[in-house]
Symmetry: D2
Subunit: 184 residues, 4 copies
């Protein structure tokens, strides 16, 4: 039962990651590696996955910020905002995305609902074929609780992107600790 | 290159999860489903994975708390403390684990180093065979950055445990939203 | 210059606190000491003052929660939501207040703008006569930066309320550590 | 009773602030306005006051970071670490202060216990004459709960320092919003 559940989770993650458009991923990498600052917004466990991504990418030398963090700077024209939201309609991320657009941000939507408000205003969409309440045909039907699959594959996707950047830029992994918090 | 990296990450996660002792997992489930309160401690991205677990388990009806959260209650005798630390020597979690023992907590160590200080004082060890600086023979050599593999498999493990609890207790997944934050 | 600035800050705080309606404070105390759960919402430094209040009140035995915290429970009918917002129009608190009303919460607005949207839907208003962009005649003109005066007096007000509860309920201050986080 | 309590709190805050050495404050301002980065560490409500200070000072153009924040950068030689701790012995801040010293940080201790471990390793001490468990003669005996007085006066002190910097550097307060988070 334990081994079987591992397979359920990992094969669901595999399906989600495999179906993500490589072209979108390429655009995302192009944008985040050239942007001045990158902001992240989401709620709940989605936010936690985004925070993990923000942290790792900062180790790669990018200037990342989580919306709502104590020392959040001002978003400036040309900065990137990454919005994580399965439904694409979550209240807080939606409001932030709208505000960011008026400030001239490049908005990247990561989520499952390409017909949502957030998808509608985004400059780039990275679609995850995870389950939504719409039960669309091309969605992966997850056996997991709530939106666990989205949160898991979001974390894995961020780390996948990190690996690709490391390879492309020939970054020495051992040297990465330079940007890493060193007080703990 | 993209598809290949998916396989690298997922097969590493598969190795870690498969090697976790089912008996330890069984003990962990027994403990957390009967404990009065469950506390979590870790740092950085490990903490983020633990927070995601704390959040999901609270949806299953458990009283979970993250050490350092604003409204953290007092730990009482018999409460469970889950310590996530790859090395088993991280300063803050180690100090908290030591303090928790003196207060009568049941300490569960989740990490890679069974010969560490935290492992030494734990009542239960859930070993992850992830990479450490010791390069032990039975460790999985990860191709990923820093300790990404530990953070990923920790999140997945927490969700695996959730699935097992849902199945054992025949919890109706659709009813789970009752405990879920409903303000956003 | 240093001593003079102390007087500026403290006399501004004194003005704000003195002008708060004692009757509103009485109602607030009645509500929070009988509510099942109390939620707090705000942003930025206002949120930090609210978190400090949430923490202290939890030491007095109340069940307090900060909106957005990892293990936030569901808000139930009859629970109290305290909304801190100088302008009464801050986007996120406003949206949360609206949602809370539909869930049957008793909403308390603490802020400077009694004609705001949040004030309009609140069951109880605790008005702070701090500066707003409207420059109303009965506002205190602060010499401080941005909305510092609101954030300061909010923290002090929360602690004032704590003192009143301690006195009324004859709580033994030395016994308060029972509810205090004890891991650090 | 309400008005009387206001006086208790504000006169206690006045005593604490008045007794802080102006020379120490001058040194602190000199250091923080010339440092490359400023880190803050504390726990509980002390941490919340420090976060409020970090936020406001970032509006004045300083690069401030809270130890433990998701995107915390590496501390470099010459950076400043501000440690808030009434007792000067709090476990986590003490450990961080010790680590920071080895990394070449300039450590500023803000607290009540000049004979503490943290005070001992600090390069600069800003003493608050707030209550400690030692009941020293020159301590202010507070009528408030726990260490509320320290947390309150810490917040007010940070804002006092902000006012002094604004005046000295002739900063246009209205222009401060440039550095302010603008997404909410």
């Amino acid at each position: 039962m334990y081994q079987e559940k591992i397979n359920v989770i990992l094969s669901e993650c595999h399906s989600v990651l495999s179906l993500i458009s490589e072209e979108s991923t390429r655009c995302l990498i192009e944008k985040i590696t050239t942007a001045n600052k990158i902001f992240f917004v989401g709620v709940g466990r989605v936010m936690l996955s985004l925070q993990a991504i923000a942290k790792r990418w900062s180790h790669l030398g990018m200037r990342t910020h989580v919306v709502g963090e104590i020392t959040e700077p001002a978003l400036e024209k040309g900065d990137v905002l990454i919005v994580g939201s399965g439904s694409g309609e979550t209240l807080f991320p939606k409001a932030i995305a709208q505000k960011a657009k008026t400030l001239g941000a490049y908005v990247i939507y990561i989520g499952a609902n390409v017909e949502s408000t957030i998808a509608g205003l985004a400059d780039l969409i990275v679609r995850f074929h995870t389950n939504t309440k719409f039960n669309r045909e091309d969605e992966i039907k997850s056996k997991q609780i709530m939106t666990s699959l989205f949160e898991q594959s979001l974390l894995l996707y961020g780390d996948l992107v990190s690996m690709m950047i490391v390879e492309e830029k020939k970054i020495d992994i051992k040297g990465l600790w330079e940007y890493h918090a060193n007080l703990e």
